[in-house]
Amino acid sequence: MKYTPSLGDILQARGVSRRGFLKYCAATTSLLALPPTMVPRIANALEQARRPSVIWLSFQECTGCTESLTRSSSPTLEGLIFDSISLDYHHTLQAASGEAAEAARHAAMEENMGNYLVLVDGSIPLGNPGFSTIAGISNYDMLMETVKGAAAVVAIGSCASFGGIPGADPNPTGAVSVKDLITDKPVINVPGCPPIPMVITAVLSQYLTFGQLPELDHLGRPVAFYGQTIHDRCYRRPFYEQGLFAETFDDEGARKGWCLFRLGCKGPITYNACATMKWNGGTSFPIEAGHPCLGCSEPGFWDKGGFYNPVSTTDIGSGVALAGAAAAGVAIGAAAAAMSRRRQKKTIQEG
């Protein structure tokens, strides 16, 4: 294994002062949603951290996740973190193409066997290998081959995590998630459509900082970012408790910023960090912009009824079925009564 400089080395080489480093640690701590008392430990850990090799695979996806990540402005702390990883393969971002690109992937795999991270965005079609290929290799084959020597796999976005939109009903390509296929390696799901860029980088920097995988919930999501619902952290929550709801997008409640529950907000059942980390460099998030949460980081969010159906509504099925149930009730009731009357007659005759 080739020598990889520690993050401390890199920063020092760039002439970053200790104050600057402390500032960076404070920001990282905040990013990782850790308490401020953790800053010294983070500082210590970051100083020792080494650049991991990262291979990014894109399958049935829209590049929205990559966009999300790269749209975070240039020389930021996230950028710094990207400086501190070695992104050895990313077919959208890398300069190399064709065979050279594939060769880079193989080289990174060989050099870092057992230590590299595989990041995946997009779902994998199992219906027909021809549905999605890269360099003539089916997504499935490329994933299985690349993951073989990986330390861990990070599924970026809802498609890679849960099948996402390609996997939505009726799932024409037979799309599956990374976790559906990889059972012998740790898989971290970072769902969202797209995920918050800072969450992507935070997951990476956590790996970088502590050299181990974060604590995951039952859906394989890092608890630090997916531990609480949007609803729990939403600044509009007090309106929910007071029973003050916007009922249309332009009523008084909407103008006053009341709770969007009745407009179909999926905040109560959506685990993500949007309400605190927010988007576009902490500017806002959908609910702040007046739109209910779609629940994009939850499995099957595309198929959970309408986006504007409140969480507490249920699907009562078709009117025909209801009428059928009613008719059945009347029929059974009538039959029961007829049976009882016949039985009554018989009992009376016998008695």
Binding site: G333, A336, M339, S340, R343, T347, I348, G351
Partner: protein, 449 residues
């Protein structure tokens, strides 16, 4: 329930007579009894009973309305519990889910032992007074269900002996107390002489057919004279008929539907025969229920005559001014017969009459429709083994009456009256119940004229 106690106070040392004693009629096997009971329960399982039996939520409030529960505190006297076998039979045989109940054995078949045990609850400890029907939050008319349950009990031969015997005499002799047409006629003639009043007997045509209760004929014969006096004073075309004079209906009380029908048809036929426009019922509570509210349904079509209780008739006569009475300077309280007031809807009549008599009327606590039953109705007064319980329950009534401190206690039901007389003797009580009819008849203004 069958806790045997030694009776060391009687001359013959033995164990006390068990509190619960079952009477049976006929030579039927247990299965046959159950079969009969089921058949005659089943006859009653129409929509009305089904709605009631399906609606009970087991809230237990009916217990608080029942004088048997209130007087004893024994939960088995909870009115709806008295219907348990009836309800069980309904659920198993006829209810919408009967099929499921039978398939999964969720409701067991009613057993002969159960029916025997319930004899005490359906007869000895229920006067069908309907007070529980008023407390039920579901509006279940529990009293009418007890009457229905008795139909099955009767056919199963599970009626208390005395009640059965009395009902049988009513069917055979036309009167539960041995009043034959000849005896009735004799006693009418006696009253005619005694009270110097013209009594019409067996007239061919009459607008009003007056009927009597055997209890009055035998025990309170003055009622016959009083009735005649009033009808004469009103100038009515009226008559008593020896072929239809018995107002009591022990068929109804014991639970024999055929006997009930025979008894009612005697009056109905007699009334039709004389072309009566009205049948005047005597001071008898259950007679009112039997003819006023059940008569037409037994007849199968609307009755071609009106049915009035004598108190209603008197109230109308006094209110319209056709009849005038003297002022009676007494304090009076009035015991409402359950079947006439609470169950019958004629609660106002006695109060109107008392107003015309200008008495110092003192309503019983909860008087009128929420009145405590005397404890003798529904045939209970005939059942000897129920005496102890009946006396116990009567205490509630005594407290109510005493609370008014009235001089005179009135009622308009001879069955209540005989129960009061019996309890009065038992407790050596100061109050003697008098008849409202007698009071009116004794104070008619025409007397003086």
């Amino acid at each position: 329930m069958s806790t045997s106690e030694f009776d060391l106070e009687s001359k013959r040392l033995s164990i006390k007579e068990p509190e619960i004693r079952y009477d049976t009629q006929g030579d039927l096997s247990d299965e046959e009894r159950v079969q009969k009971a089921m058949a005659h329960f089943a006859k009653n399982f129409g929509t009305t009973a089904a709605i009631y039996l399906d609606s009970c939520i087991h809230c237990g409030m009916c217990a608080d309305a029942c004088h048997y529960y209130v007087a004893t505190g024994d939960p088995k006297y909870t009115p709806i519990w008295k219907l348990e076998p009836f309800k069980q039979a309904y659920k198993r045989e006829v209810s919408p889910f009967a099929f499921l109940y039978r398939l999964f054995g969720l409701k067991k078949k009613v057993t002969a032992e159960q029916l025997q045990e319930w004899q005490h609850l359906l007869y000895d400890s229920c006067t069908v007074c309907g007070r529980c029907s008023l407390i039920c939050p579901m509006g279940i008319d529990i009293a009418s269900l007890v009457a229905m349950a008795r139909h099955g009990m009767f056919k199963a031969g599970l009626v208390p002996h005395e009640l059965h015997a009395v009902a049988e005499r009513a069917e055979v002799d036309g009167s539960p107390l041995g009043v034959t047409p000849q005896l009735f006629e004799e006693r009418l003639e006696w009253m005619e002489d005694e009270h110097e009043v013209d009594i019409n007997i067996d007239k061919e045509q009459a607008d009003v057919l007056a009927v009597m209760s055997s209890i009055e004929i035998q025990k309170y014969p003055a009622a016959m004279a009083a009735t005649a006096k009033i009808l004469n004073a009103m100038g009515e075309s009226w008559t008593f008929r020896t072929d239809g004079f018995e107002a009591t209906n022990f068929g109804m009380m014991s639970g024999n539907v055929e006997w009930q029908k025979n008894t009612s048809m005697r009056i109905i036929n007699a009334a039709i025969k004389v072309g009566a426009k009205m049948v005047l019922l005597p001071e008898c509570g259950h007679a009112y229920m039997a003819l006023r509210w059940m008569g037409a349904n037994i007849y199968g079509k609307p009755l071609p005559f009106k049915v009035l209780h004598v108190s209603e008739y008197l109230a109308d006569a006094l209110n319209s001014g056709k009849l005038k009475v003297r002022k009676v300077d007494k304090s009076v309280t009035f015991h409402d017969p359950c079947q006439i007031s609470r169950r019958g809807g004629a609660t106002r009549a006695p109060r109107d009459i008392l107003k015309h008599l200008a008495v110092d009327f003192r309503e019983l606590p909860g008087g009128g429709d929420y009145n405590w039953c005397c404890g003798g109705g529904g045939g209970v007064v005939t059942i000897l083994r129920a005496d102890e319980l009946r006396y116990k329950v009567f205490k509630l009534k005594m407290e109510q009456v005493e609370a008014t401190e009235a001089e005179t206690l009135l009622s308009s039901c001879s069955n209540c009256r005989q129960n009061f007389d019996d309890c009065q003797e038992h407790y050596d009580w100061k109050y003697t119940m008098e008849s409202l009819l007698d009071l009116v008849a004794d104070n008619l203004e025409e007397d003086e004229a």
